[in-house]
Symmetry: C2
Subunit: 329 residues, 2 copies
């Protein structure tokens, strides 16, 4: 057993499939972890009970009593009102509509709770102890089913008046462009998400283009795994490389646009697609974005990096958000 | 003569054609003004001398001595480093390259000086004593030759790491779209600026479209005056109305995108084009933007308004920026 940690924070990563909790030292070291499946079809109360239980398991492993905890942070999908701890809605969690997640966890665990959106929280982790450590202002771009975004300005998450800032996937990147999952047209998500990439690959296959993907995937698959995309790219498959090139180009336009709006120190790209395909995506992203920076001075000061924390970003970010909210200043 | 004002601020609006200075009470009342032409071809030193002289004239009219001034604010075109008061470059002012405007004015006038970009400063004026009074977070969009932008977040100008944040005109709104003045393609400026609007009008005229504009404008005119655009619209000219409709649509996509990124309390639209043509532009802007808001909750809390301060926005904004920087907290 490691030396007992003083004033630890609890970081929770609530996802649609699993709940992760970690006990984290004030410096960002994970002391203990616990994990359970999310009973997402059973409604908010069942989910909150599992979250509480997961935290208790992690505390037990770390030999930390609840009242020794300096603060609790939790990242959750959906729209969060950080001031009240209410999850206003969460499309990925069935029946989540105005759920008082923060107050419920506070009641169950007796310690102060800060609730954040999952992408915000993961980016905060990268800012605090990951790729963005040492930076003051960081933008997170996480292409997945949609495109998650986060803004950290002067060391604080910018969540906006209604908690819905940093929806970077819904910057219009191509007026009247392809249909987006949100029902509108030409959003960044409709061009540069993993969903858009798959849509284009499947269309190309349907249209008869020659590609190794035909043998690698099954038309009945729900979605193409990132590993398969990377495998096809490594084989030099032309369709795959061209599609990644296009995805990188649009992600670069998005990053260039957001740099022109925010002028941050760093843009951090994360998520499974970036992780698996960064060697093909990142050069195009960087080149395209830089080309679109309107301010040509000190251009090298704007960094574009990939996330470093992997699956730990959520729990570490939540714990570090709790530290910045409840820790000693 | 009005009652003598206590602890006044000086607001300066340095433009490519004229220099305005005003003595402003801490509550935002203009006590006295002065105005001179900008000797913009004579280089920075000549311009700074005229700025100083203009301030002295305004002080004299207000019967205020320099050492009674609580602080000086100045809005200038170009890229500003607010921390040093250096204008890094200003395409609209000949020979302006790393000009220490703040330090020079401080030396000449003996009072603390804060320097800001002109659009930032005007928007700050609207935030402090204009359309955005009472708001905490405001986005400014000023379509003109380009599209100026400004972000006020939690009561402070967000200028970014390099002073180049809020370049809203260089959000890509149409990947691979029309050529932008910046040399890239599809920027908001290339679609929704006054320059883009004129480009489309002139092309339509060249292509033989029927329009009242043919009689209202001269092909040799440098640019079409806003009043003429409004006149054609009022006459019901179809080309004019369609073009304004398209401009409003793109401005709406821009506003919707930026609301999805920032989630502000208000977006303020200003500048000569908006002022003259707001009755045709604003309904389209509002409808389009709202349609693109990804967060459908509390949608009416996001206001979209036109600027109120007109030509005073620059001096009032500069004075209010000085108040927020040097005034009593």
């Amino acid at each position: 057993m490691a030396k007992k940690v003083k004033s630890p924070f609890v970081g929770i990563d609530l996802g649609g499939t699993k709940v992760l909790a970690a006990i984290v030292s004030p410096k960002g070291r994970v002391v203990a972890r616990a994990k359970n499946l999310t009973p997402d079809r059973e409604g908010p109360e069942a989910v909150i009970a599992v979250v509480t239980e997961t935290v208790r398991q992690a505390l037990q492993k770390a030999e930390v009593k609840p009242d020794e905890v300096a603060g609790i942070g939790i990242g959750t999908p959906g729209l969060v009102d950080a001031s009240t701890g209410i999850v206003r809605y969460a499309p990925n969690l069935a029946g989540w509509d105005e759920v008082p997640l923060g107050p419920a966890l506070h009641k169950a665990l007796g310690r102060p709770v800060i609730v954040g959106n999952d992408v915000d929280v993961s980016t905060f982790g990268e800012y605090a102890v990951g790729a963005g450590a040492g930076c003051n202002s960081v933008v997170g771009i996480f292409p997945g089913t949609g495109i998650g975004g986060a803004l950290i300005l002067n060391g604080r998450l910018h969540t906006g008046m209604r908690g819905s800032a940093s929806e970077l996937g819904h910057i219009v990147l191509m007026a009247d462009g392809p249909l987006c999952g949100c029902g509108r047209r030409g959003c960044a998500e409709a061009l540069a998400s993993r969903t858009a990439l798959e849509r284009d690959l499947r269309a190309a296959i349907r249209f008869g283009q020659e590609t190794a993907l035909r043998d690698l995937i099954d038309d009945s698959d729900d979605h193409i795994r990132s590993g398969v995309l990377a495998q096809a790219a490594r084989m030099g498959d032309r369709l795959m490389l061209e599609t990644l090139q296009r995805t990188g180009y649009y992600l670069g336009l998005l990053a260039g646009s957001i740099v022109n709006v925010i002028d941050p120190e760093m843009v951090i790209f994360g998520g499974g697609l970036i992780e698996a395909c960064q060697e093909w995506l990142m050069p195009t992203i960087r080149n395209t974005a830089r080309q679109y920076f309107i301010n040509r001075l000190d251009i090298d000061r704007v960094k574009m990096e990939t996330a470093l924390l992997g699956d730990d970003a959520g729990v570490l970010g939540a714990a570090m958000l709790a530290r910045s909210t409840f820790g000693e200043k």
